[in-house]
Symmetry: C2
Amino acid sequence: MTSDPAIGQAFLDRVRERLPGLRLLVDPLEREAHRRDETAYLVPGLPLAVALPSTTAEVAELVRLAAEHRVPVVARGAGTGLSGGAAGIEGGLTIAFTRMNRILEIDRENLVAVVQPGIVNAILKAAVAEYGLFYPPDPASYEQCTIGGNLGTNAGGLCCVKYGQTRDSVLGLEVVLADGTVLRTGGRNIKDVAGYALTQLFVGSQGTLGLITEATLRLRPAPPPRSTLLAFFGTLEAAGAAVSGMTAAGLGPVTLELMDRVTIAAVDDWHHLGLDREAAAMLMVESDLPGAGATDELDGAQAACQTAGATLVVRAADAAEADWLRQGRRMAYHALERLGVARMEDVGVPRSRIPEVLRAIEAIGERYGVTIGTFGHAGDGNLHPTFVFERDDPTAEATTEAARGDLYRAAIALGGTVTAEHGVGVVRRDYLIEQVGPDAVRVMRAIKAALDPLGILNPGRVLPPA
Amino acid sequence: MTSDPAIGQAFLDRVRERLPGLRLLVDPLEREAHRRDETAYLVPGLPLAVALPSTTAEVAELVRLAAEHRVPVVARGAGTGLSGGAAGIEGGLTIAFTRMNRILEIDRENLVAVVQPGIVNAILKAAVAEYGLFYPPDPASYEQCTIGGNLGTNAGGLCCVKYGQTRDSVLGLEVVLADGTVLRTGGRNIKDVAGYALTQLFVGSQGTLGLITEATLRLRPAPPPRSTLLAFFGTLEAAGAAVSGMTAAGLGPVTLELMDRVTIAAVDDWHHLGLDREAAAMLMVESDLPGAGATDELDGAQAACQTAGATLVVRAADAAEADWLRQGRRMAYHALERLGVARMEDVGVPRSRIPEVLRAIEAIGERYGVTIGTFGHAGDGNLHPTFVFERDDPTAEATTEAARGDLYRAAIALGGTVTAEHGVGVVRRDYLIEQVGPDAVRVMRAIKAALDPLGILNPGRVLPPA
């Protein structure tokens, strides 16, 4: 792989010749706008050019030409990623799916939507809601992020504790392979065991095995509006105990979110929700069961919180208040960003280890003298410890590097993961082997080499350079 | 790959030398007992030997030696498969996991069980039930089949319409690779996007990519006992319309099963359940919602059935009657086997196409003059048309071959699959390309070659010979 300007120029000439109608950005400012994602302190490469295809055929031709010229290809959605997976590669072609943003079909009978990758998650949600349907995956950035990016990272979100991650909602894909072949996997069958799990494999591979150009997504009947409970605790351990108590009681809430003291204050300063700022932690629990089920479920959650020593439990008065509280939680990261530069992490642990990982995060904050706001999806063991630095802190980048290493090692030591929903991308690739071991990395490399023998698809992402 | 007796003998000598404590069956009668699975009219090869390892280390050594001698390796559970995936290969080594049948841990806090592959599904279910927990996947053969076989085929069953197939309940695996390396994937994290979806890839690969020697399975809190409804219909179309009506009404029952007239009669002859034998079709609908939810859900199902023109709707009086009815459904295949030789198929279609595939099945029965009993998981579009022949019918095998080809083509034409939960194995491998296309087969072959370059793992299964 090279960033030789002559090769780049020859490639672009050929692209213009073969695809005269393609929107191709080569202006330095426009390329600069596609350099980064939202990962603080990551400075990725500047793309050679940014292509905005409007058809799968254009994507296939772009990949064929990139293969011919050995130009790296990066797939990009809205650029809201937090792993550098869709960030620029110096001398590479970024394919931004902004213009391939249509809903091709909503199949009410089969509870399926067929979409292009550039569709924004919230727009899809709203469109299917008009049919009384529901597309569950909901990253906090759902009003900006695209389904293509969600597929690339196997994104999660607030309700995946009940409805699973993006992979659980995918029935089929159209994928442009490394040689430009257009592959279709799966379809509209709920169950299908004909051959290997290609659909599952492409989801979460961050554009390193193929470029997803269409997806057949599974929908559900829209559940009733949610009922919402907030519980505040004097210690993080007590909040952790409440989560365990709910698991033990067999509850399956649609949301089970945690915020620590730093996050509560940041969210409340911005949104004035009237949260208890003295609390060490807050849990948000939601139910979308029909009828009396929701009240029963929240009664059970309240009992678990009180048994664990909650200092205050409140329920949202109505759907509007619940929406407002949920929006507050969704904006936790941006609330922390108002305090300075915020670098969000994404560790996961087996659910029983949440108190331990919370203690480890506190210790890391003390060790490095850094403010950490922690929030996340307590119900499935996924937390987002977020390092917050003053904007002009010259030590911030080095501190982040050291502190996140400690964080990853702490998660791995607890049987956890360095990334539960954001992806390895480029920023966590050097920790992949520590988590999964050399044999798993070897198998992943073998699969990568089998599907992308020239190594042109998002090289250096997910897998560390050999 | 060869079945040269000298190579086989050298291999066995080496196995005995390296693994003197291994239970190794070489007696022709014992080998014969491991030739077939339950696929009628399939005559697979006779294994060279059958190994019954008790540790992962023994499995790894067996695979290493098999690789050295280029001896094919077949992984086998209880032999209840319906695709020939675990049937013998002439001159190959069958590794039967009968003795690796322990539950290694039930982790109540994390809702996880760690098991060896030889554990019988029903034994695992019973063991976790003592902790108030539930392992959902439930093939009709759950009292015989093993978790290892379930993992190999990504098995489904009666409640996967609500809780998913086996893959949806797997968090991590231990796998012996083609070179004898012992790989671990995943763990106890509900969410984990570190690297490619290896766990998902191994599940459903029928021992062609690796041999699963341990699995970390996801459990759920045990739901309440089920409430059960039976509805009878004058036509198959009416039953199909009732299924669509339930989907449209947003119902999510835990069971939504269909039986046609032939199956109703066969089950009733055997079990004397008092079913309506005049009906063209019966639906069994179950709810495991808590509290009043179950009654509400079955009320909704009943309304959908009546709107679709059900001739009779009855509800089980109590849990014992419900169990009895469910057991009747589970035994549908064996009830048909009492009529003669039964060859069960496993097509799936998008849910809206159920009436069409039912019509196609009827037409195939008429075309070939063969009795077909159809039953299956209507809620997710998966039907088991079962050809029934008299035991001494000399044309049966040829008729099966022709009729099932028509069946597969009908399913594919409806956007369906030739196998929804039983696996491609050997019997459906020549139809894989018709369903998924040459590009998908090429990608699957590339993955197979990457993980098993010598082609010793269950060769000729899933993928047709190149």
